[in-house]
Symmetry: C2
Subunit: 345 residues, 2 copies
């Protein structure tokens, strides 16, 4: 899934070049890191990317030979993750008859790739054996309030009891202590036919749209059908639309240094801090700066007496944000949209 706008990552993430196409680690752009960490568990020729129709060409260029053009599925409109996953499932049914599909966000970070691939293999085995929905939950490393949680029947259990919304601090600490809770990472593994059955049952309207799209696939009307049908699909997440309501969901515990790199403060998970807890990407001079995160894209970053700030600078924008307010960066983007300042989006 590479359809996000990354507005909490602004100004590094822009409309024309959202987060999944950024090289934040200094190694590769995120979408390519996402693809590459699947090898060799998943074959290169079996990988698909769903992205905005506006970004299919960009995706082809940025992935530099990793994907065939017909493995880049363009959404004519952003309709949240249920539509995206349903569309991909239908494509797989048409191309392969059926098969295990794994769903991964293209803008997450995983530190321990070997450990990730082990869990992935385990998930594929499980999804092959059981016609159930399988998800990967992340073993919490701290009482995060920024993630949703998955409650298991008990620690070590595969059985999901419920999906839990982002908690307050106190609940998060309780979840961490209990050992039964995992972070909801949004990674899923299941048979294409199994998830489509869930659509049929829980999201019948969307299922109708998916059927119409599926019928057009491989015909001359495919693109026209998608462009007509897709924008009318309700915006609903796979979590809200299916996962929270489905029975018999299984969860595997993953512990591989995962971060959703959701907002700019997550840059803190990609780089080691200096002795004052500052994380500065690029050249810097820090005088009495503490706990700051700065990303300057080739600029010199100088900080004097600053504490717990995020600084992100591009050619045309400088953002300075209290570290506790990282979530509100998207409000800046919304304000720019409202004000029609599209050149900064």
């Amino acid at each position: 899934m590479a359809g996000g706008s990354g507005s909490r990552f602004w100004p590094l993430s822009r409309k024309a070049l959202p987060k999944q196409f950024l090289n934040l680690t200094g190694k590769e752009v995120m979408v390519n890191e996402t693809i590459d960490r699947l090898f060799p568990v998943i074959r290169r020729e079996d990988i698909f990317v769903v992205t905005s129709a506006a970004h299919t060409e960009l995706t082809f260029q940025m992935t530099k030979g990793r994907l065939a053009r017909d493995h880049i599925l363009g959404e004519p409109a952003a309709r949240n993750t249920a539509a995206c996953i349903g569309y991909a499932a239908m494509e797989l049914i048409k191309k392969y008859g059926d098969g295990i599909m794994g769903i991964f966000a293209s803008d997450h970070y995983i530190q321990k790739e070997e450990a990730f691939r082990s869990v992935l293999e385990e998930g594929i085995t499980l999804a092959e054996r059981e016609d159930k929905l399988v998800t990967i939950g992340i073993k919490p490393s701290f009482p995060a309030t920024g993630y949703g949680y998955i409650r298991r029947r008990s620690p070590e259990s595969l059985m999901v009891e419920e999906f839990v919304e982002k908690p307050d601090q106190e609940s998060a600490e309780r979840y961490l202590a209990s050992g039964s809770y995992l972070w909801n990472s949004g990674m899923f593994i299941w048979k294409a036919s199994v998830i489509l059955k869930q659509f049929e049952k829980l999201l019948p309207d969307i299922y109708e749209s998916l059927l119409a799209i599926g019928e057009s696939m491989g015909t001359a009307h495919e693109r026209e059908t998608i462009e007509r049908v897709y924008p009318s699909i309700p915006k609903i997440s796979i979590d809200y639309g299916i996962m929270e309501r489905a029975k018999d969901v299984l969860v595997l515990e993953g512990d591989f240094g995962w971060s959703d790199v959701g907002s700019l403060d997550a840059l803190g998970t990609l780089y080691p801090p200096d002795k004052n807890g500052n994380i500065v990407h690029g050249e810097s001079v820090c005088l009495d700066a503490k706990g700051c995160i700065a990303y300057g894209e080739g600029r010199l970053l100088a900080m004097v007496g600053t504490q717990d700030l995020i600084v992100a600078a591009t050619d045309d924008i400088v953002l300075v944000c209290d570290k506790n307010r990282a979530q509100d960066v998207k409000k800046v983007v919304e304000k720019l949209e409202t004000d029609g300042k599209t050149r900064y989006l």
Copy 2:
């Protein structure tokens, strides 16, 4: 006087383009504003600029016809204000025999130019009538700890009792309440011959150097002599070398919205704050930002939840500084010098 390096104004002020050559008000570069506000009290053809020899051509270009080339005096080395003023006084003696000279920093801001010119005229009259040193002191508008003070015999008196170093907060409040104290603005008016007599008396070594330079003026050896003699002149300020030690100094009270624009927090005096006390030069989005000063040179500046910060961004540098630490920006410059990162100076 246009020889400053403006290191407390970094990164807006750079070695290649120090503060006096910046357009901070959106009207004109500071050196030109300094020249233009002297008209019509002082004739255009009587204006001289002393600057670094490295910046004489830049000064000629930036002043766009305001100055003849031979009115730009190039210092082969920065030797503080005593040398600068002595050199200029000698030049005036040689060119005009004698005359009233007024000395003004090229990087100060004055809001009420008419009021400034009135005090200037008063000062010229006073210096013509009496063979004394005349300075303009600024009526304090708040208990500043960043300026030196001039204590008068009494409020309204022209007689200087003493020059006082930058005070602590308590003393500054006492000075403000007394009515006898003025800020030391570093503006002086006197006959060239009068200040040179003070050099002879109080700074005899420098006077010897100035005589040697004076004798070479108009000869083929002038430049060679200046380049040889000038770098050996001791670095001493006119305040420390002469003003604080001279007898019978007169002071005129000025109240014309003066600021020395000494450090980046002084940008606060050039622009009106918004309702949250933010001063942002350029396009901006502020969410819960308070008391911040931001200068982005054409960039969009976004601030979220920030308080009392200075943000200054150029093509290659972003500085973020606690507003109370504005004086320490020069330490960043010193660090860059020590580290040999000359491209950022």
